[in-house]
Amino acid sequence: MANASTNIAAAGPRGPKPRRAISGRNIMIYGTLGLVALYYALPLYVMIVTSLKGMPEVRLGHIFAPPVEITFQPWVKAWAQACTGLNCDGLSRGFWNSVRILIPSVVISIAVASVNGYALVNWKFKGSETFFTILIFGSFIPYQVMLYPIVILLREMGIYGTLGGLVMVHTIFGMPILTLLFRNYFTSVPEELFKAARVDGAGFWGIYFRIMLPMSMPIFVVAIILQVTGIWNDFLFGVVFTKPDLYPMTVQLNNIVNSVQGVKEYNVNMAATMITGLVPLTVYFISGKLFVRGIAAGAVKG
């Protein structure tokens, strides 16, 4: 009897259930995914192909055809020679402007917002909740409403039309969402850790720099992604608060692509657009990896 039952167990299903590689279900899933991927990748393909063609080839109108003769001239022209207004030094001017706007804006906004979030969670003061509510409410006011007041404000401060002014605007407008981000992250850090650090004699900055900061790399990466892409892609503030010499890359790109004089150089436009998009793209690629690593390193229990 016992013997018979063990025989049945051996003959029956055992271990992992076998799965077929090609099944109706898999074909459906991968087929759909493939189609959708193609749909999204096609415009990029057209852009790359067009940017590598010379103007005569572009004029033929075969937008899907690969270039017969590959040329990098459009890329060079977009970077160094394309004209906007009186300047004919291409996108490079805008690129460096954008970098000079981006770096201080990202650093200052994240530094201030992370301290904000930390203080709001761990060093509650009278009215800290109200303060937080007001701050969050700020993120619901449309930017357009505040444009003109800010222009006046910057003018009165004497920094209208300078990069410093634009950096300040970016820093302030990044504050609500970043503070929320950091506050929520620091809330998840066990309160006892903070208490232990206080018993150990660490003060406001000691706890921030030596306990909280090293634990919060994942959220810093998230904040950096958010700010870099947001500030790099900004158009509105760039066009309103700076002047032509200091236009960020996005504004300059628009001026190149939308120029109404002369021939439309599609290949140069495509190349310029891609150069502009490279920075956020790179950030996604690099930080994506960092992000995963950051989460893995941060996932320490206890």
């Binding site: 006892e192 850790l193 208490k195 650090a197 206080r198 150990d200 004699g201 320490v300 206890g302």
Partner: protein
């Protein structure tokens, strides 16, 4: 009274969170080298009190004295305390060595002194092989040792433990409990220990403070608390299985209730003599005698067995006494069955009497 004799003194401490009064006019004197356990069910304010002593919470009123000094306005790090938390609260990005030395570095103690103290603490707690590991690579018991070590290196007079063993499994908890006790005999400094586990409280404490609703219900030795609970709450809270309570009346030195008629001769009344009136008698299940011992008991009666819960080391019997359930703790080897009638004996001298209204001990 000289404040220097006390290690920690709490004077008229109040703490309110908005309209909620968490601690109410609390007073507690703790002698040098004493092991004090703050015991109570969750929400009784015991952890809040500990946080007030540590300086992590600001009291609404009252004072905290440590080592003969009023530290009410002092920072936690200046109070001469070390604290161990329930969740260990180790700094995850630092090694064990980093965790132990963090507080000392903040206090700007010379490097060789730090090294000496870390080595000493690691030696006492036997965590030397773990010094270069990160907390993530430690087991629960090891983490708790490191957490204790972090308090140890500070070389302080008062240790505060906030339910340090609650996150560990039963076996490890028992092991570490003994180790904490050993640590106390070795270091001989004041320890204040918060727990909701009465076994921990009874085994560790020199004195227990049982708290309820932000007030201390009784503050005395484990023996006193077990044998002479000051009020019904303490009597009910301490002991597992918990005490049997029977309502009845005292008249002429006798306690009567349905199924009970006890002569109170030998009972140590608080006022010295019995006062007639309604009362509650509390009898511990383990103080009910059975078998051959019954013949020696002053009061004997028959009960019907309702439910039997064998637990190996002993057996808990739920019996029916005068129509009410009555718990009896018997030897683990005792063989009793449901529906049987059993003869039991009670000893009034080991019982506790409480006033029905005030619930205070009579």
């Amino acid at each position: 009274m000289n404040a220097d004799n006390f290690s920690v003194q709490i004077k008229d401490l109040d703490l309110n969170f908005g309209a909620v009064k968490v601690l109410r006019g609390l007073n507690l004197d703790i002698n040098n080298g004493e092991f004090i356990v703050l015991l109570g069910s969750s929400g009784c304010g015991k952890s809040t009190l500990l946080n007030c002593i540590a300086g992590l919470l600001e009291p609404s009123d009252g004072q905290v004295w440590i080592g003969g000094k009023n530290v009410t306005w002092d920072e936690p790090s200046q109070r001469g305390i070390g604290m161990v938390f329930q969740s260990y609260a180790l700094y995850p990005q630092m090694t064990v060595r980093g965790n132990l030395s963090f507080g000392l570095k903040n206090a700007r103690i010379p490097r060789d002194e730090i090294e000496r103290r870390v080595a000493r603490a690691a030696g006492i707690l036997q965590i030397e092989p773990l010094l270069d590991r990160k907390p993530a690579a430690l087991s629960g018991g090891q983490r708790q040792r490191v957490a204790i070590g972090r308090a140890l290196v500070r070389d302080v007079d008062v240790f505060l433990f906030d339910e340090p063993l609650s996150n560990l499994d039963a076996k490890l908890r028992a092991d570490l409990r003994v180790e904490i006790k050993r640590l106390h005999t070795q270091l001989n400094n004041t320890m204040i220990y918060v727990t909701h586990d009465q076994v921990e409280a009874m085994t560790l404490a020199d004195r227990i403070a049982i708290m309820k609703g932000g007030k201390v219900m009784q503050y005395s030795t484990p023996d006193e608390i077990y044998n002479r609970p000051q009020n019904k709450y303490v009597a009910d809270f301490i002991g597992s299985p918990s005490m049997n309570f029977v309502e009845g009346t005292i008249k002429g030195g006798k306690f009567t209730a349905p199924g009970l008629a006890l002569d109170l001769k030998g009972y140590d009344f608080v006022g010295g003599k019995a006062t007639d009136g309604a009362a509650v008698i509390g009898i511990r299940p383990e103080h009910v005698v059975t078998g051959e011992l019954v013949s020696g008991a002053p009061f004997q009666t028959d009960v019907t067995v309702d439910i039997v819960e064998p637990m190996g080391s002993d057996t808990l019997v739920w019996a029916d006494l005068g129509g009410a359930p009555f718990r009896i703790r018997m030897d683990g080897q005792a063989r009793v069955h449901r529906g049987e009638t059993m003869r039991v004996g009670l000893e009034p001298a080991r019982a506790s009497l409480f006033d029905v209204k005030t619930e205070e001990r009579l």
